[in-house]
Subunit: 148 residues, 2 copies
């Protein structure tokens, strides 16, 4: 094991060394979509608990909240001008109104950041409220900048 | 804002409420690939630092390490029998040797879990070693169960 260099292992295990430095537009799209998919999955679980469509489980809610808080910080780094074209649901309006988009993203991140602490209290009513407040900030951006 | 129900917001913001409960095979594939993409991106950054191909930055290394530790725990939940078919690089061998795959996954998770604490020490030599040890556990599984 020790004879294998770090370089060999990293290259073998991922083909993303170049991406780690300067992602290509198609990699930006891939990474932001990956982050949204996992954020959506975890937020949907919180939403289902909040709607009492699945049983409330404190530990699961904390884990979901931690994923949402961390992953929702990812996409903002992957919306370069060049990443408008490709397999994306992002509308051109997003880049035409980048300052507004950035502000909406910031508001969303401010709400997602609160989720883990609220989930950890075990206060279900507070969690419901925080899920609703967070969902509203997701929706604000989707309404304007995500294609149906 | 208060008049919008949680249900409406969650449904509007994601279409994944059903997924949160019982993912369909194609959603399992989507979610595991999303987790691998983001794990790979963050691990590649650590790898590039370890190889001195990009400057070592303690805060960035901690953030990368936290992403890898959290995201690398995701895929194991999304390898049902039904998810063999579809847009996946996972070989059929994976399901034929599920116990071995699970063991390799567990070993990988044991190493990724150590990354944040090592990154937080700021000890670059220790980080290099932990990146190599982690990469070897990624490679072990890719060699056997991921198509080229």
């Amino acid at each position: 094991m020790r004879k294998i260099t770090v370089a060999a292992i990293v290259l073998a295990s991922t083909a993303l060394v170049a991406v780690a430095q300067q992602p290509k537009p198609e990699d930006e799209i891939k990474l932001r979509r990956a982050a949204y998919a996992l954020t959506g999955y975890n937020f949907a679980s919180l939403g289902a608990m909040a709607q009492e469509k699945k049983p409330y489980n404190k530990d699961e809610a904390i884990r979901n909240a931690e994923f949402v808080a961390l992953l929702s910080t990812v996409p903002k780094g992957f919306f370069s001008e060049a990443s408008q074209k490709g397999e994306t649901k992002a509308k051109p309006d997003l880049w035409a109104n980048k300052a507004d988009f950035d502000k909406k993203m910031e508001r969303m991140n401010a709400e997602t950041a609160k989720l883990p602490q609220v989930a950890r209290t075990g206060d279900f009513a507070a969690l419901k409220k925080q899920v609703a407040d967070t969902g509203a900030t997701c929706k604000a951006c989707h309404d304007d900048y995500r294609a149906k």
